[in-house]
Subunit: 254 residues, 4 copies
């Protein structure tokens, strides 16, 4: 097996001028949640798996007890209407663990994108604020200025000097390496506290993607998950407050 | 020397339709204990050693003062009865230290398995519960559903969503990479507290292996070791309790 | 993409007997600040970018929202007067993260230097003292004794056994690997507390570089930055003192 | 530059049946101190340097201000008397930082040893006891039983199951990898507290080496260094005791 290996599980689909949408694990798992929800909603078809020696040496276990080597997955979807575009969707269990692994992985992903004559990349991720946020906005960055202008029309915002540290991981690297190879690309980052998986932020990101792709996606499942996560967050806060109170009491006793 | 190197110390044995049983170090050293006990009991013959640049740069010292480069070891055993199968047994000092090392190592192990026309892999390990356990069960996962059914008949159990984190290390990776290359495989995981080496869990795993292979293995040595470990565990607990009591006392004095 | 990749963004400039001046991130960012200020002042022209799989998997975001893969950058400048020399200037976002990455990166930098027939390297960095310093001196080391003599005439000093730990990173490695390949080289290290970026130390280093290259550079921008940093340092100190006082108070109460 | 690079700085010496003695940095720097002292005493001649991408990216600075890339060094010495043997001596600034680097480095060292038709390796190191020791013994391990017998006659001892963890680093790996390639080898480990560099332990090791090689080496410089280190150790102990006393006092006050 090569350092990164692609395994086609279907004949290569014939796609017309497709765009690639990436959502791998990251802060709040925003990108992964968004792309997985999109895949489910539009019933996209898996056509390839990607294995990498920089992923953890691990299998996951399906509900029927069968093992699955950790991987990234490619799906495709063919446009139903004139104003829509063919899609390639990328999600997976992990990003590369090391710097070199991340570079190798993104280069391979771009190889595949080139093979299908992809010209535009949309990478989805979270922007960790470290604090609660009631209605997350979606920040954007892109490989050229015009794209920023377009994407702002679709509801994303651009704040100068944010994220201050740039974009770390596949969502950034695909644009960085892609630009060198002639791809155009946009990164959409949903604001998120970043403590827990964040379906609310994923929903905000998907709203922009729906505008861009002229797709209608039922977001109620994400909304339901978001409520569950909010309850868990609330419970965690109560436990924390309670623990702090107890420890204050103890100080006075001492 | 290549990144992974195989050194045959005997002519390659001629085996008929052998199965491979792996037991490398891991949680509670369950897999390693089980396979080593099996090797001793059935008097399997070592035929190859495997060195790897991702193992620690280390030699062990034999009781006669001679040095041994850290390694993995392959043994074989030829079936004595009709209902038995030829075996290749794999154990060793270490797993790979890095992700890439683990992948390279498991690929080389599968190369050797292919060379001997192995079609079925049994990988043995521990499932760490983080708490005491009186009679450890043996969980299983496999490369396909039918194997799960068969292995449950031999006494292993399957709990949905356990282990939740999948299987990390060679026991998982051999199945994951093996499945891609057309191997069938089963992972048997003995429940274990995971704090100390666990011969009791190894014994539970070996019971299943005996059913699968139609081998009879005297387990009394493992049982004896298990008792010794239990005594050590008991002593550790007493020391801990005593220390905690002392520190409670000190708090009241303070 | 190779492990290290050079991308020329202009036709290769024709340079006459150029010297290379390196200033990559490091202690107090002294070298980077110095070279960046020099590039701005003399209006040097960027001609190449260098990407590396050992840099973090990251893009930075420009003020207009466009993404930039993290990189090192080469600039050139052609001498205006007889007593001056053509220059190649190297700065960037990162040094390699791993030992091997640093070696690969420096080898590639030396490849480029060889291509332009560079014979002399000047590497700039900081020498961390871990304490405040009012007027930083500039220490030097070199690939041969005569260079030390020359460089001391330009205002650098040499203290026996300093820095005691040698020079770690690109500034050291370029001289070390360069010497093997026949380059001559000097490392200039501005004394710095090392806690914050240190424009004052960068200014001290640039003063020596001005003497060596017969360039006149307006240093007022560095001086202004230095004052801002001094204020920040002062504020940090006050916060620290205040926190310590408070915690002393609390001890007495307790 | 290759991952490991050898640079001959002299014509390759013609040696007759030489033995290789290795002393690289490690616990108590015992091996390095011993070999460096031997090199100085017998006035061995440096003939090669070895650079490695797994060494730190670092230069050291000589007392005249010139830089030296971190490296390993090979020296040779030709026998003066009939009962003596030609020697190759190996010391250096660092061992490899990573497992793989250690393997690559030791393979290259063995390549060089093969080139000079070396058949016997002596590797020198420390055995850390974690406690003071008045007269350090020298433990041994070897690639075969007969060597153990011989080396015990020269004053080394062999304790069953010591060191329990085997031998980690170049001293172990050279024997481990060397054995596979047909070398015979002995590791001599001087007992040492392991906290500080330990010339006393190095002296003990050199005593054995003198017996093996029929060399007479003046050990007074090592003895002098040993006394200095003992004084430093004594001072450190006093500081520690004083600090502990103070903190005990404070507890009673509180």
């Amino acid at each position: 097996m090569d350092y990164v290996m692609v395994k086609y599980i279907k004949n290569k689909p014939k796609l017309k001028n497709p765009i690639l949408i990436e959502g791998l694990p990251g802060i709040g798992n925003v990108g992964k949640l968004a792309v997985e929800h999109l895949i489910d909603s539009i019933k996209a078809t898996k056509f390839a798996e990607l294995y990498c020696k920089d992923f953890p040496p691990q299998v996951f276990i399906n509900t029927d007890g069968t093992t699955e080597l950790v991987k990234n997955e490619f799906y495709y979807w063919k446009a139903k209407e004139k104003k829509q575009r063919d899609l390639i969707l990328l999600t997976g269990d992990y990003q590369g663990l090391s710097s070199q692994g991340q570079y190798e992985l993104c280069e391979k992903i771009l190889d595949i994108a080139e093979e299908f004559k992809v010209k535009e990349l949309y990478t989805l991720g979270g922007y960790g604020l470290g604090q609660d946020i009631s209605s997350p906005k979606v920040l954007c960055a892109a490989t050229n200025k015009n794209l920023i202008k377009n994407i702002k029309k679709q509801g994303a915002i651009f704040k100068k000097n944010e994220p201050g540290g740039g974009i770390v991981g596949a969502s950034g690297l695909l644009l960085g390496l892609g630009k060198i190879r002639g791809f155009e690309g946009v990164c959409l980052m949903g604001e998120t506290p970043g403590y827990l998986v964040d379906p609310k932020s994923a929903k905000a990101v998907l709203n922009i993607i729906m505008n861009i792709t002229n797709l209608k996606v039922n977001l109620s499942a994400l909304e339901k998950k978001a409520k569950e996560i909010e309850q868990i967050a609330q419970q965690l806060k109560e436990i924390e407050t309670h623990t702090r109170d107890k420890s204050e009491e103890l100080k006075y006793i001492g």
